[in-house]
């Protein structure tokens, strides 16, 4: 009885993402020196730290862009390490980018429809002949893309070329595009960088809506008021290692974090 019960217990409480001893070096520089953490499903989990702490390296390792030299990345219990980005995306992990990686010449709707790629099956031959099932699938993709656009409040921009949008909206198109893939884990890489206060405020609501839609969010961000108000749990990286982790209140009270990163006794509104 004990074994079966234990297994079920594990399945229920197993984290969505479990990173163990992740190491990544670039020519002798340890960008990640054995990072371990666990992200439970349904959380908004933020990774903070000074520039060069390894946050973006961590994201690139998680999504298969880098090949870490040691460690493991288990997502829903199976190993992601060694898979190419497209296979990792197929497992249910997708991301946005610190430097915009939009498809600038395509419309907003088309960008988001690319996000639906994994939810459709049309191949080259069927597409070339535009079979009836291809038309049906196109209609379905359009509907899915519109859902993601509604969630991100971009529906009125659907027909516009993505490259002509203001910067803040481009960043939101990236989020909509990633959401259209129906991920279970969404990595947001500095979504507030370059946004004004109003846009940042709207972003906080959007991140909360994304979580409410059942997507776990892993967030790298420098904007402390946003991080402290939206996150359930924080991980602080410094020099490629975990400096601290805990709730926003824990982190703001942590002397090491304050001296390494937050600087002085600053209190952020929660």
């Amino acid at each position: 009885m004990g074994l079966a019960h234990g297994a079920r217990h594990d399945a229920l409480t197993a984290p969505l993402l479990a990173v163990e001893g992740l190491e990544q070096s670039f020519g002798g520089v340890m960008a990640l020196a054995g990072v371990s953490f666990q992200v439970p499903a349904g959380l908004i989990y933020a990774v903070i730290g000074p520039n060069g702490a390894g946050k973006t390296t961590l994201f690139n390792a998680l999504c298969g862009f880098y090949a870490p030299s040691a460690g493991s990345i288990r997502f829903e219990g199976s190993e992601l390490l060694g898979l190419p980005p497209c296979r990792i995306a197929a497992r249910g992990v997708t991301r946005t980018f610190q430097n915009l990686q939009l498809f600038f010449t395509m419309t907003v709707l088309e960008n988001v429809m690319v996000g639906c790629h994994l939810r459709a099956r049309t191949g080259l031959l069927a597409a070339a002949l535009r079979l009836p099932r291809v038309r049906r699938e196109e209609r379905q993709l359009r509907a899915w893309a519109h859902e993601a656009l509604e969630l991100c409040e971009l529906a009125d921009r659907a027909a516009q070329p993505a490259g002509t949008l203001p910067y803040g909206l481009m960043k939101r198109v990236e989020i909509a595009r990633a959401l259209a893939a129906k991920p279970r884990l969404l990595l947001l890489d500095e979504p507030a960088a370059g946004l004004n206060d109003t846009e940042t405020f709207a972003l906080r609501d959007l991140i909360a809506r994304i979580r409410a839609a059942g997507v776990t969010v892993l967030l790298v961000e420098h904007h402390m008021p946003l991080v402290m108000s939206v996150s359930d749990h924080l991980l602080v990286l410094d020099y490629g290692s975990v400096l601290a982790e805990g709730t926003p209140a824990d982190i703001q009270a942590d002397a090491r974090v304050i001296s390494a990163y937050l600087g002085g006794a600053v209190q952020y509104a929660v």
């Binding site: 980005p85 990686q101 498809f103 690319v114 790629h117 049309t122 191949g123 080259l124 597409a127 291809v134």
Partner: protein
């Protein structure tokens, strides 16, 4: 409507021989232009949409042509079967070539495809036993559809026109689909495309094979239409011409590629009267188009037409 331009083009293609009956120039130049359109539209899928260059595309044109020529003249295969075999051979070669070659980017990809084009041309010249060497192969029978033989120029025009419209229709469908969006995405940002689940090396392989099939299709039609093939029709100059057509018409537009192909075909015909100065004028015109219409003929001319229309409407009281 999605296919409005397509139907307008189809109407134009049918109208031409009706408006100019028994006009040798319209028919012969029309056939050449139609074949070029098929080649350019196929190459545009690779270059314009997926952002990969091929400087050896005449090789696939040649593979289609020689497959038809060799199988019909030496083995007496029916023409349609030879055409199908040409597609298979070109498709398999493109597929084998794609994985190693499409790992390369930019100049390196250009060099590799250039090398492929040169090798294919050398084989056409040297493998005399198969290809007839520099003299080529003659006596290729015309296409034959269940007894209806394409044995005069007007029939040839009809077949090439239908094939051209088919190529354009296929290309329009591919571009406006999940596959086409994936290609445009990988041209925009390969990393972002991968993170959305697009297997980019698979997508590149597929489009390379598809564009090779378009070229081989045009090659077979060309062989059966001319009744004669020689290596000169598939050399490096032809590959460069094909790239020029795509760029001239405007990258990433099916109609743009078609427009470039037709324009370049007409230019060659029109400039023949200048004899020695032909290449000089040819080059100068290409430079002028690229300087003044950097987005290509299609976008440039449609903008000009829109401007003229608005000006004309503004002037009427």
């Amino acid at each position: 409507m999605r296919l409005a331009g397509f139907f307008a083009l189809a109407a134009g293609v049918i109208a031409l021989p009706v408006l100019f009956p028994n006009n040798y120039f319209v028919i012969v130049v029309g056939i050449a232009a139609g074949l070029h359109v098929i080649l350019a539209v196929g190459l545009n899928l690779l270059m314009g949409y997926a952002g990969q260059i091929s400087l050896g595309h005449a090789a696939f044109f040649g593979i289609g042509a020689y497959a038809s020529a060799i199988l019909t003249t030496r083995y007496a295969w029916p023409a349609l079967l030879a055409l199908a075999a040409g597609l298979v051979v070109a498709g398999v070669i493109a597929w084998l070539l794609a994985r190693p070659i499409l790992r390369l980017r930019g100049h390196y990809l250009a060099m590799a495809t250039l090398g492929f084009g040169v090798i294919a041309h050398v084989i056409m010249v040297q493998a005399t036993h198969w290809t007839g060497g520099p003299d080529g192969l003659t006596g290729i029978p015309p296409l034959n559809f269940l007894g209806w033989s394409v044995n005069n120029d007007l029939h040839g025009y009809g077949v090439v026109a239908a094939a051209m419209l088919l190529a354009i229709w296929l290309s329009l469908n591919i571009v406006d689909s999940r596959v086409g969006r994936a290609l445009r995405a990988l041209r925009g940002s390969e990393f972002a495309a991968q993170m959305l689940g697009i297997d980019t090396s698979r997508a590149k392989t597929q489009v390379f094979v598809a564009s090779a099939l378009f070229a081989a299709f045009a090659g077979s039609l060309f062989a059966h239409q001319q009744g004669f093939v020689s290596p000169d029709s598939f050399n490096l100059t032809v590959s460069v011409e094909l790239v020029t057509m795509v760029v001239l018409g405007g990258l990433a537009s099916t109609y743009g590629a078609a427009c470039g192909a037709i324009a370049l075909t007409l230019l060659h015909q029109g400039l023949v009267v200048f004899e020695d100065y032909e290449m000089l004028i040819h080059g100068a015109l290409l430079m002028a188009v690229m300087i003044f219409l950097p987005q290509g003929l299609f976008v440039g001319l449609s903008q000009a037409a829109r401007w003229a229309w608005r000006t004309a409407r503004g002037m009427t009281p």
